[in-house]
């Protein structure tokens, strides 16, 4: 249903479209058995009054992009940027080179904007799914935190709102800006304008471009000159974005000499109805600044037969803009049916440092194609890549990495180690490193190995009295230790347990 874009902007009446009996954007032509549709229907009649403000019709076109921007009351530069991205996206082809398989995605069958809905509050933990509670217990998550994660109303002492308020005050004192992306667009448009797309341009790749056109919200963090952020930042404390968005956008800027550590995700299993997640994360580190970005991802991985689960197609990139800056990525990926991302660092400043530590675990039919890209531009730049892949049952794990040393990058150094552990004779482990060196003073080393847990190792542990299961989990944790030690402490403890839970029953 093509319309005049200008008219759409001026006569913005989504309610008419959405409630109209005439099919807008083909939604009525959908099969009646589509459960997604019934969900919408219920929604449609249950909350007629606020529907017009909260959701857009299915499908994607220029009007939708304009509507998203209008809903968020964005300044003109944001709309221009989104439209540029959308127009580019239309001309782009979905990449197919990755070592993962999934059925084609229908981009016209998605809802690109719906305001965060309040979750149904439960009265006590008794109402929470037993399976979820069991997982919480295994992960050792404190009771009050369990409640928060499960959406149970928490008592005043532990009210996340009040906790968050205290944190906000501390941050404010330090001068750190940490807010949702929408707030940043409203309150700090100059900063957003300056840094948005400076690391991941709007035309970067298919999914990043899609994200640029339709992203709904995300996090924004700005650490001023010389400030060491007084606490580890986490979306956890940002109340209004507790739900993961489908198209998130994170932008972190560390001014000269500053330091920030950012945590993303959590170990608790998160179920989400959106299948495709195409987020973008941009990091900018100016001279002498340091950014540490840690991710623990445990989204719904689909069932034992590989049905359902989240596609996690994320573009993450950091830029060491100034001299002596440092960006460090640490990730523990155990969830999602497909994980496909390459947190990268552009080492532009002289003597800048890039790091990538990753543990990716795939079980059942999960697939992961992940790795990093280190682009050495400045002199004396250094990068370290440690990647550990574990494939269990029919899991498929691929490391794909690029180390690129440009001609001007004198004395650049890279060390890469990627190890794979196979648990199960139907699992798959691939290693595809790309090394491109254009400067003879560079020193680049790559090592990779693939093996299974040896009988000898197992035997040794067992004769010391460990059960087979415990022995294996100990060996796996040893295998991942190099990565875990780079996680913030409380995360590391949870991550260790997370691996055990994720691998449960897959050995022996």
């Amino acid at each position: 249903m093509p319309r005049n874009p200008a008219a759409a902007e001026n006569h913005f009446q989504p309610a008419d479209d959405f409630l109209s009996p005439i099919a807008p954007y083909g939604c009525e032509t959908k099969d009646m058995s589509d459960p997604e549709r019934f969900v919408n229907q219920e929604y449609k009649y249950g909350f007629v009054t606020n529907v017009d403000a909260d959701a857009l019709p299915r499908g994607l076109n220029e009007d939708i992009v304009r509507m998203i921007s209008a809903k968020k009351k964005e300044p003109a530069f944001m709309l221009d940027w989104r439209l540029k991205a959308y127009r580019r996206w239309v001309t782009m082809k979905e990449p197919r080179w990755q070592q993962v398989q999934y059925p084609p995605i229908d981009y016209q069958d998605m809802i690109y904007y719906s305001a965060p809905k309040p979750r149904k509050k439960l009265n006590s933990l008794d109402e929470v799914d037993k399976e979820v509670l069991e997982t919480f217990a295994k992960l050792g998550i404190p009771l009050e935190e369990q409640k928060r994660l499960a959406g149970v109303a928490v008592d005043a002492v532990f009210d996340s709102v009040s906790v968050a308020t205290t944190f906000k005050e501390t941050l404010q004192k330090a001068g750190v800006i940490f807010c949702s992306f929408s707030e940043a667009v409203q309150n700090h448009p100059d900063l957003v304008k300056k840094y948005l797309g400076s690391v991941v341009p709007y035309a970067d790749n298919f999914f990043a471009t899609l994200n640029s056109a339709v992203f709904s919200d995300g996090s924004f963090c700005y650490v001023p000159k010389g400030v060491r952020c007084p606490m580890e930042l986490s979306t956890y404390f940002r109340i209004n974005a507790a739900d993961t968005g489908q198209f998130e956008r994170t932008l972190i800027v560390a001014e000269e000499g500053s330091y920030v550590s950012y945590l993303e995700g959590c170990t608790a299993p998160i179920r989400d109805k959106n299948q495709l997640h195409a987020a973008v994360v941009e990091l900018v580190a100016l001279g002498n600044a340091q950014i540490k970005y840690s991710t623990v991802q445990n989204w719904y991985a689909g069932d034992k037969n590989g049905k359902g689960g989240i596609y996690n197609f994320v573009t993450k990139r950091g830029k060491c803009e100034g001299p002596n800056s440092k960006i460090s990525w640490t990730q523990v990926e155990t969830g999602s049916s497909i994980t496909w991302k390459y947190p990268s660092v552009i080492l532009k400043g002289d003597s800048s440092v890039g790091e990538f530590y990753s543990v990716a675990l795939t079980n059942h039919h999960q697939q992961a194609d992940t790795g990093t890209k280190m682009t050495h531009i400045g002199k004396n730049t250094r990068s370290t890549i440690i990647s550990k892949g574990i494939s269990a049952r029919q899991g498929s794990n691929t490391y794909r990495g690029l180390v690129k040393i440009l001609p001007k990058a004198e004395n650049a150094k890279n060390y890469t180690q990627c190890d794979s552990l196979l648990l199960g004779n139907r699992s798959e482990a691939n290693t595809f490193p790309y090394i491109e060196v254009e400067n003879n003073t560079a020193r680049v080393e790559h090592e990779a190995s693939t093996s299974k847990i040896s009988e000898d190792q197992l035997f040794y542990c067992r004769q010391r009295g460990l059960s087979a299961e415990n022995a294996i989990s100990m060996i796996i944790n040893g295998f991942c230790k190099e990565v875990f030690k780079n996680l913030p402490m409380e995360f590391a403890v949870e991550a260790t347990k997370l691996l055990n839970v994720s691998l449960e029953g897959s050995v022996g």
Partner: protein
């Protein structure tokens, strides 16, 4: 053929297809029907492909651009009177054993000799044996031809005309090395040749095989070679591939190896010449057990581009593969290494290791390396590594403190880097030759660096 010269080919599909039509007409009635249909099948596969560009993942780092606009002419009749036999003899040197020589892609009996051929070894040139040995060629012509499409190998099959066929009889251990030499003499025109070798090691046999690619003269030429090794149960082959084309040459080769049950294949690939070099090596473990040891050494300078593309495919259990490729890169040179190891689901207890090391001597040298593992079996031991670096300052200092000049010290260290491969060479004559080559080339590479 006498009255009409063959049409030129470019690296252009239409031109190649037209040249094939001409070739087919000229060959009509001369070759057995199986060969004609073999060529037809190859050109049909060729037709379905297109010449690779840098947009193809496998050719990402290698562009055929410098040779795309050149017209190459095949030779179907060598004018022996015009060949400077003195220069050729000088270049070839003394044969250590039986040797077949091909000039511009065609058998040159004047320079070949099969005297001293032991036992029942069949060592013949294909052109003469289509009818007599046709059955052997037909039977063992590569089973995996269709598995991995490689446009240049198909082009070679389409224009298949001459080459060496070698059959080692069952349980026969050959003592003298068996050699074939392909020499191109592009005197006043740009030439293309399609060398083709078929080596079948029957069960329990053993031999050393040497392939040599040489060139003379200042004209550009194009060598598109294919060598197939069939190593049957319990056989063992040590193969050398010495590529020393001129600096005007484009050398593209495909070496395809089928490793049989408990058999062994040792390979040395030495690239010293050529302007644009691309070697495909594919080793397939089609039966249980089996072992291969692949070694490569490339030395590039002044505008040379050397690309090694290898695939080791473990289809069956208990295979062992080792690979070590080393490169030395002088000024304005580029090297590419792309090595893939597949371990299929059946191939339990596979032990595979791969290593690529590169030494950059010049600030404008470039190397791109891609060692890759694709593993679908769990009970395996696989490792790969890649390293890029330059000479160690401390080591240079050490040698200088012992009284060596900078140039000499660098040469010694570079030589040491290469020696890991040279040391493994089992054939004395080749080893000696390699050492001379290295000495020569390192001198010139080091000399360039001084300036």
């Amino acid at each position: 053929m006498k009255t009409k010269t063959a049409p030129e080919i470019f690296l252009e599909k239409e031109k190649c297809l037209a040249a094939y039509e001409w070739f087919k007409k000229a060959e009509a009635g001369k070759s057995p029907s199986w060969l004609a249909s073999y060529r037809d099948e190859a050109i049909a596969r060729f037709r379905d492909q297109s010449f690779p560009t840098v947009h193809d993942e496998a050719w990402k780092y290698t562009s055929l651009e410098p040779f795309a606009k050149l017209a190459f002419r095949p030779v179907y009749r060598n004018d022996s009177g015009r060949i400077n036999s003195h220069a050729v003899k000088n270049l070839l040197g003394k044969a250590p054993g039986p040797r077949l020589v091909f000039i511009n892609g065609l058998y040159a009996p004047l320079f070949s000799s099969t005297a001293g051929l032991e036992g029942n070894i069949k060592m013949v040139h294909l052109g003469a044996s289509w009818n007599s040995e046709g059955r052997l060629a037909e039977r063992s012509w590569f089973p995996q031809e269709n598995v991995r499409l490689e446009i240049f190998a198909d082009l070679n099959s389409a224009f298949l005309n001459d080459g060496m066929m070698l059959q080692l009889p069952e349980n026969f251990l050959v003592k003298t090395p068996l050699e074939c030499v392909y020499l191109t003499l592009p005197e006043n025109q740009k030439l293309v040749s399609y060398p083709r070798n078929l080596i079948v090691a029957e069960p329990g046999s053993s031999a050393v095989v040497v392939e040599r690619y040489l060139g003379l003269g200042g004209n550009p030429y194009f060598t598109n070679a294919v060598t197939d090794y069939v190593i049957r149960e319990g056989a063992s082959v040590e193969a050398y591939r010495l590529q020393k084309e001129t600096r005007q040459a484009c050398h593209i080769s495909s070496t395809r190896v089928s490793v049989g049950r408990q058999s062994r294949f040792v390979f040395f690939n030495m690239d010293f010449g050529g302007r644009l070099v691309r070697n495909h090596l594919s080793v397939v473990f089609s039966e249980e057990g089996g072992e291969c040891d692949l070694n490569g050494l490339y030395l590039a300078g002044e505008g040379q581009h050397i690309d090694n593309h290898t695939v080791i495919d473990h289809l069956k259990p208990k295979g062992t593969s080792r690979q070590l490729y080393k490169g030395i890169l002088g000024s304005r040179s580029r090297a590419v290494f792309s090595g893939k190891i597949f371990v299929r689901q059946d191939a339990q207890k596979t032990d595979a290791a791969q290593k690529n090391k590169n030494l950059l001597l010049s600030s404008d040298a470039r190397v791109d390396t891609r060692p890759q593992l694709e593993i679908l079996a769990d009970d395996v031991k696989c490792a790969h590594g890649a390293a890029v670096g330059q000479l160690n300052e401390d080591e240079i200092f050490y040698l200088r403190s012992r009284g060596l000049g900078v140039k000499e010290a660098k040469k010694v260290l570079t030589y040491g880097f290469a020696h890991e491969i040279v040391d493994k060479v089992g054939l004395g004559a080749v080893k000696e030759e390699l050492e001379h080559w290295l000495e020569d080339r390192l001198e010139s590479v080091a000399h360039k660096e001084e300036k």
